[in-house]
């Protein structure tokens, strides 16, 4: 245990943790929304995120950039960010909708038991992940299943330094965009007509249907929103961590799920809280026990939480939100 190290690096660990947690939160939203409405853990959501990172990178490469090229000029950076965002969001959303159409909807029609949904979700996840893995094999980018060469769109620089707290530009971008998107989504779900439909179906699907809510459309909408958020998270991940591989979604998915449970699965604000908290705790643990143990923390947090407070910090409340 390295308490001195933790104290010395405390500001650094906190800012890194918040940035990482913001990405977890965005991915966690996908889990939480689908769970809130369908009572289903969408295992394939981690792959929705992964497809987003690959799509954004593919677009950048199509525009003629690779891991060696340097990107300068605010206009060019903005252009690349927007192009990457569009590609990631479209690809992630299409993947999410495809999974819902191909894998989940037929099962709902057949009133399949919950176990069947989980098994299909796992199947869908592995099909996506293996397809990208085989694709990366065929690219011959040095070694079997090697990471894709990533474009560095924004060079990380310290832009704010106050009393030992250094914050880089990428961290600011990640944290602010994540919080902004969460506020937008929260407003959408709580104030708009479509959002009311989502809450109604989450609360009681049959009654909602009797009241004229189109259940299938709501479910589709939920997958679309999850896909958009995962796509945005994928872009931010590419910018901040400049790394993508066929299995990049796996650990992020696991942690995002832990974050969703931590905040209370089915609860939008809980996803933000859980994500940020998990990101920070994980980095403190890395400071305390060494970087190797970082990935264990999310898992340990999940187990401990399930033992003592399975409903999470804020409770599972998408359906019980105010009318």
């Amino acid at each position: 245990m390295d308490f001195d190290g933790l104290l010395r690096d405390f500001p650094d660990l906190t800012t890194t943790g918040l940035a990482q947690g913001a990405i977890y939160a965005l991915v966690a939203l996908g889990y939480t929304l689908v769970y809130g409405v369908l009572r289903l853990i969408n295992f394939a959501h981690s792959e929705v995120f992964m497809i987003g990172t690959v799509a954004a990178l593919g677009t950048w490469q199509a525009l003629g950039y690779n891991q060696n090229s340097s990107v300068g000029g605010i206009g060019l950076i903005l252009l690349l960010l927007l192009a990457g965002l569009a590609a990631a969001v479209v690809a992630s959303t299409l993947t999410a909708v495809a999974v819902e159409r191909v894998a989940y909807r037929p099962l709902r029609r057949r009133n399949a038991p919950p176990l069947a949904f989980l098994i299909t979700a796992i199947g869908a996840s592995f099909v996506l992940f293996e397809a990208v893995g085989l694709f990366s094999d065929n690219l011959h980018i040095g070694g079997e299943r090697a990471p894709f060469g990533m474009v560095t769109v924004i060079k990380p620089e310290n832009v704010i330094s106050v009393g030992g707290w250094d914050i880089t530009n990428t961290q600011i971008l990640v944290i602010l965009s994540a919080i902004g998107m969460l506020i937008a989504l929260d407003t959408f779900v709580n104030r708009s007509r479509l959002g009311r439909g989502i809450r109604a179906v989450a609360q009681d699907p049959d009654t909602a249907a009797l009241m004229g809510v189109n259940k299938d459309r709501v479910i589709l909408l939920v997958f679309v929103i999850g896909g958009i958020m995962a796509g945005a998270a994928a872009l931010l991940w590419n910018v901040a961590y400049t790394f993508s591989r066929f299995d990049v979604g796996f650990l992020i998915g696991l942690k995002a799920f832990s974050a969703a449970v931590l905040g209370g699965i089915g609860n939008l604000r809980g996803a933000l809280l859980g994500g940020l908290l998990l990101g920070v705790v994980e980095n403190y643990a890395a400071g305390l026990f060494g970087g190797d143990w970082k990935d264990f923390t999310g898992f340990v947090v999940l187990i401990v939480l399930l033992m003592f407070r399975p409903t999470g910090l804020l409770g599972e409340s998408l359906g019980r939100a105010r009318a």
Binding site: I41, L107, L115, I119, G123, A124, L254, D292, L302, M307
Partner: protein
């Protein structure tokens, strides 16, 4: 109204009924013949004549050992997924725990360096895996089934992550070498130890024997009070609880038994390979075993066996056939892609599997009828 259910029942039942109606002696002779056939299969003089069945590209005995080994895993997972209806995605985590326990206890290269013989380490490995199953199942089995799935998935990945650390007792990528082979005292005809490096046949025979015992044990278990409790939990946990079934206790039992079989296979694997490292325990293998169980028919032991056979033996066989025709069909490379898709397709079109468990098939049909009464009556 029950026509649909009857149809489902009769489809699965016709073969079974024919089998059951045969005289007892005929059934025994048929079973015995099958077992003798399986024991003879890895001998070269025997399989060379079965040109349509053998694998052409790879060593038949090795493929048979791998298949048998995979069958053992599927039979173990079937207890958890098929009988108790718990989705355990970390099955390979238990497998890894078993393999590493054996490696640490037996190998002179391990940190402990106590050098137990393989045979003594096997019960220890099974016990350790069972305990790890109880530790993992304790907090999660009280909750909804979907949490169990993700926690077990995380467990398997954490075991692999821990194993890949270089400082840990598992030695990371360097792994643990020099794990002794099983029972070195048993000599073959050439005076060498029967369980050697080159010949895979003894391992196949050993695995086959273990499979037969495990199947007998599981079969008896499912026909006992425990097995009935599992079915009750799978069908409706709340109802089972109300009727006085201690659901948590029996779920934990199923989980622990499944883990123990996983640990046993891990011990076997360590004894055969005599070297393990963190790469031996890829997560994708957990999913292949699951695909095998679902494909074959969860809840039916023989279904799981057939499923495992299809998942492991068939790709190798197809490769051989392709080789004979001058084509390079490497199905094994696409195994995960194919069997991931198989999971989706099976759940939609035939959730009960190829060789279904009768009651489980009826459960699916029942639910389907509840969902769409008009569709089912046509």
């Amino acid at each position: 109204m029950n026509a649909h259910i009857e149809k489902v029942r009769s489809r699965g039942a016709s073969m079974r009924a024919r089998w059951d109606s045969m005289p007892r002696q005929v059934r025994w002779v048929a079973l015995l013949a099958l077992i003798v056939f399986l024991y003879l299969l890895p001998n070269r003089w025997f399989y060379i004549n079965l040109w349509y069945f053998r694998t052409m590209e790879s060593d038949m005995a090795t493929v048979l050992f791998e298949t048998a080994f995979f069958v053992l895993l599927a039979v173990g997972l079937n207890v958890v997924v098929g009988f108790a209806g718990l989705l355990d995605l970390g099955y390979f985590g238990f497998f890894a725990v078993g393999a590493y326990t054996v490696a640490l206890l037996t190998s002179p290269e391990s940190r402990f360096d106590i050098g137990w013989p393989w045979l003594a380490a096997v019960p220890a490995a099974v016990a350790v895996t069972m305990i790890s199953g109880v530790i993992l199942g304790g907090p999660t089995l009280r909750l909804r089934g979907d949490y169990l799935a993700i926690v077990t998935l995380g467990f398997a990945e954490m075991i692999r992550l821990y194993a890949s650390r270089n400082e840990g007792i598992a030695n990371g990528q360097r792994g643990i070498p020099q794990i002794p082979h099983p029972v070195p005292d048993v000599k073959g005809s050439d005076g060498q130890s029967l369980f050697g490096v080159v010949d895979a046949r003894p391992y196949y025979w050993l695995t086959l024997t273990i499979i037969i015992f495990v199947i007998l044990g599981v079969r008896n278990l499912t026909r006992s009070r425990v097995g009935r409790a599992w079915v009750a939990i799978r069908e409706d946990e709340d109802a089972a609880q109300i009727m006085g079934v201690p659901t948590f206790k029996y779920k934990l039992w199923a989980f622990a038994i499944g883990a123990a079989v996983g640990g046993l296979s891990g011990a076997l694997f360590a004894g055969k390979q005599s070297f393990i490292n963190s790469d031996s325990f890829q997560l994708t293998n957990s999913i292949l075993v699951l695909a095998a169980v679902i494909l074959g028919g969860a809840g039916n032991i023989y279904g799981a066996v057939i499923g495992a056979f299809i998942t492991w033996y068939l790709p190798e066989w197809v490769r051989g056939i392709g080789g004979a025709l001058g084509l390079e069909i490497n199905v094994a490379e696409y195994r995960i892609l194919i069997f991931g898709a198989v999971l989706i397709v099976m759940m939609i079109f035939r959730p009960q599997g190829i060789l279904p468990n009768r009651r489980r098939a009826a459960e699916f049909a029942d639910r389907r009828q509840e969902a769409a009464p008009t569709e089912a009556s046509t």
